[in-house]
């Protein structure tokens, strides 16, 4: 297959995912909520910069009399938005996206897709990419929108906040790979959502490695804990990393990123392998 043809097929698969996301009102939900958040910063939050680097904040018409450091104020808002996006936004994205993969695996739809001269892996990866782009564009829209409004209102243009687009999209890509594998295995959006939420909840628990070293009695149980920590995606650690970056501090060890990336490759690889072998 030549490059142009492959690109054309990928574009068609991505476009189809976007169309389905529109039809299922996923776009409306995502962009509606995101727009509300942007409008909040645009109209309900008033920041009056006085004395150059200090400002007062007015929220819902109520003014706080205290003068605050403008840069710290903007940093605080941005950290709040990044945390909100990383937790609640991510949960919403998982919930909304979980149906987009199993629908293409429905009988009567998948057989026609497979009958086309396209590798099965290409079909699934096209859908994965489309789903990822739906969420990435929304994350970009919120972060960029809030960044632009805060910058316009205060004159503080902190580019560190924009790193939240990359880290949030990255962790969604990790979780989406789990949705792909579970969808191929069970063809059920509900099981996909439960599995991913389970991983999101498990992550902060597994991340307590130092505490567990003290609490766990045997060597093998401590090793098992560590192994599980390294194997599973580090949703919690990447979240902390996001906050550090948004606050303008060093991200620290890159281990959570590369182990999560390896996890994604392995899980996505397993999903593609199973998909290539299944009968429909």
């Amino acid at each position: 297959m030549n490059g142009n043809r492959a690109a054309g097929i990928t574009a068609a698969l991505v476009r189809d995912t976007f169309r389905e996301a529109f039809a299922r009102k996923i776009f409306l939900g995502f962009y509606g909520l995101s727009t509300l958040l942007i409008l909040f910063f645009l109209f309900l939050l008033k920041i009056d910069v006085v004395e150059g680097a200090r400002a007062t904040v007015t929220l819902f018409g109520q003014t706080s009399g205290r003068l605050r450091d403008v840069e710290a104020l903007v940093r605080g808002f941005q950290a709040g938005v990044a945390t909100f996006l990383y937790t609640w936004g991510m949960a919403l994205a998982v919930f909304a996206s979980a149906g987009l993969i199993p629908t293409v695996l429905e009988a009567g739809r998948i057989d026609l897709l497979i009958s086309k001269p396209v590798r099965r892996a290409h079909l699934l990866l096209g859908r994965y990419l489309g789903n990822l782009l739906v969420v990435a564009l929304n994350v970009g829209y919120v972060v960029f929108g809030v960044w632009a409004i805060l910058g316009w209102k205060t004159g503080v243009w902190r580019t560190e906040f924009l790193s939240a687009i990359l880290t949030t999209t990255f962790i969604f890509a990790v979780l989406l790979s789990v949705i792909v594998l579970v969808s191929v295995l069970f063809e059920s959006p509900a099981v996909s959502v439960m599995t991913v939420f389970g991983m999101m909840l498990l992550s902060p628990i597994l991340a307590q490695t130092r505490l567990m070293e003290r609490l766990l009695p045997s060597e093998w149980s401590r090793d098992l804990w560590k192994a599980l920590y390294y194997v599973f995606p580090k949703v919690y650690d990447v979240g902390r990393m996001t906050l550090e970056l948004v606050n303008g501090r060093a991200a620290g060890s890159l281990m959570p990123l590369w182990t999560s990336a390896l996890f994604t490759l392995a899980i996505l690889g397993a999903g593609l392998w199973l998909f290539a072998r299944r009968d429909y």
């Binding site: 043809r5 068609a12 389905e20 057989d111 009958s115």
Partner: protein, 310 residues
């Protein structure tokens, strides 16, 4: 010249997940479908027809054996490039319009955008859905979806068309329209592989057939040969009683009505003997007709025979 489809001992065994039970959906099927022909695959429900089609398109993986499309292993995606396929019980995405659906599947077939732009209105017109191009598929009736499915299969001008129950849910006028389109394609040299339980449709349209029964090929051959040459019907006017008894012994069947007696003779030799005997008795012969079977009769006879064997 390589055939359009060739299968070698193609077998698909399904295994129940928790039990040891095996279901042989397709069992050692070796078929050859020549280029440019119209081929009908027949069989009762559960005979393995749809599984066979899915094996051809790599939707299902064979347990044993292999399939080739125009000489290429059917498992290779490129081998499916010259194939147009209309599945049974298709589920086209309801959020797409007719034109968008064709555009999507055309892109997956590797058609450049400019070709799709040209072909889509042409085909929508051809299947009578031009006015429905921008309507979402969830508003389409079953028959309209079937016609759109056919347009989808034809979009990239395939050399091999595999249709699984193409007339399902289509009204008689639509059926005639589909048959006309297929006839046109046949004249253009497109190989058409029809999987249908509608025997009259297959008899009208196909040149060759195979009958699948319990996953195996029970009978295969040209429709004309399978339905022809079953015997001769001779009608004689009032032959004497003794002669009727004599000829009845040689005939497959004998029936009398309104002074005429009808004999059904199994072959030409017996027929000629009977003519000689009738002429010797100066008995008038009203008519002699060569009888044929319908495909339905061939189908029933084949299944009955296999049922007795099995």
């Amino acid at each position: 010249m390589t055939p359009a489809i060739q299968t070698y001992e193609l077998t698909k065994v399904y295994r129940a997940r928790w039990r040891r039970r095996e279901i042989r959906a397709v069992d050692g099927v070796s078929l050859r479908v020549e280029r440019g022909t119209t081929f009908g695959l027949l069989g009762p429900n559960g005979a393995g027809k749809t599984t066979f089609v899915k094996l051809l398109l790599s939707v299902v993986h064979p347990t044993r054996g292999r399939a080739e499309i125009f000489g290429r292993d059917a498992r290779i995606p490129e081998a499916r490039r010259p194939v147009g396929y209309l599945p049974e019980n298709h589920r086209f995405p309801g959020y797409l319009t007719g034109a968008a659906m064709l555009d999507f599947f055309g892109a997956l077939s590797g058609m450049p955008a400019r070709d799709r732009k040209r072909r889509i209105p042409e085909l929508l017109e051809r299947v009578g859905l031009a006015q429905w191009a921008d309507v979402r598929l969830k508003k389409y009736s079953k028959g309209m979806l079937q016609r759109l499915g056919l347009a989808q299969a034809l979009l990239h001008s395939p050399s091999l068309l595999i249709l699984d129950e193409p007339s399902d849910g289509v009204d008689p006028v639509g059926r005639i329209q589909i048959r006309e389109i297929l006839r046109e394609l046949e004249n253009q040299g497109v190989t058409i592989f029809l999987n249908s339980h509608m025997l009259s449709e297959v008899e009208l349209f196909c040149r060759e057939v195979a009958i699948l029964h319990r996953g195996r090929v029970a009978l295969t051959g040209p429709v004309r040969e399978l339905t022809a040459g079953r015997g001769y019907k001779l009608t004689a006017a009032a032959p004497p009683e003794g002669l009727i008894d004599e000829l009845r012994a040689k005939a497959a069947s004998c029936a009398a009505s309104n002074g005429f007696v009808e004999f059904l003779f199994p072959d030409r030799e017996v027929l000629n003997e009977a003519i000689d005997r009738l002429r010797a008795h100066r008995c008038p012969i009203e008519s002699i007709v060569r009888t044929t079977s319908t495909l339905e009769q061939v189908f029933v006879r084949t299944l009955e025979g296999r049922g007795e064997d099995g």
